[in-house]
Symmetry: C2
Subunit: 147 residues, 2 copies
């Protein structure tokens, strides 16, 4: 959080200047990593709820956060900037990658909507289909060794 | 994500059994860490947007995700389970801690609402007040050395 705050505080003046923004490679990679890590944390929460490890009181908020974040994910990969844990196949197989990401956004949105309309049990029954992260990661992610 | 998926897949049967859930200490700590890490990642995104490092196309979704996650944060600390990076003061100063967390939820919700009603520039002007994470962390967080 400290890093984020430094960025926030250092940059308010830029807001007023309204510069044209051209993200460089490092920024692009960092941005998509923020998004994927958010998805990882929120999927972790849903996993805890599903396994009964923690109560499900806030599950609708977590499903909403997942859907919102998923809706931002594809765009984060639009700039063709290999690096981080993204394999080059993200861009060389873009039609497949983008189809999967759009499906992910669609499914998580449907799960959140179901939660609000039909209740949490109906939504949680959709989790395995909505959070099929592994299939995509096997093809498009080169997981780095944990530091 | 693999861990989350394992939890998801291993636990669907529990859903049907609808067990009474009593989170143990490790689960409680893990849950609140998922939430705080989500906040950290999304605040990082907002910092990148503010500094002009990445475009602001998805800023409203990020502000919504922040507000949603902030709304779940206080409840994650309700079980009195010291550990992780939470100092014991979280619970010994609970009236202050909970007041700050409620204020954080209120401010991030107001920022997101402003974004939808008045546009992103009006919302981003509220960032320094809404994301005053540092003040709270100085009192209530014992940051662990990075691994």
């Amino acid at each position: 959080m400290k890093v984020a705050l430094r960025a926030l505080c250092a940059s308010l003046s830029l807001l007023c200047a309204a510069p044209a923004v051209h993200a460089d490679g490092k920024d692009v990679i960092e941005y998509r990593q923020h998004i994927m890590k958010t998805l990882n944390e929120q999927a972790g929460v849903v996993g805890q709820i599903l396994s009964g490890a923690v109560p499900d009181d806030n599950v609708l908020s977590h499903l909403d956060a997942l859907a919102l974040t998923a809706s931002t994910a594809l765009k984060a990969y639009t700039p063709k900037v290999p690096g981080g844990e993204a394999k080059p196949e993200v861009w060389s197989n873009w039609p497949d990658f983008s189809k999967r990401m759009n499906e992910f956004a669609r499914m998580t949105a449907a799960m959140a909507k179901t939660g609000h309309e039909q209740g949490k049990d109906a939504a949680l029954a959709m989790v395995v289909d909505a959070l099929s992260c592994k299939h995509c990661h096997e093809t498009y992610r080169q997981e780095k060794a944990k530091k």
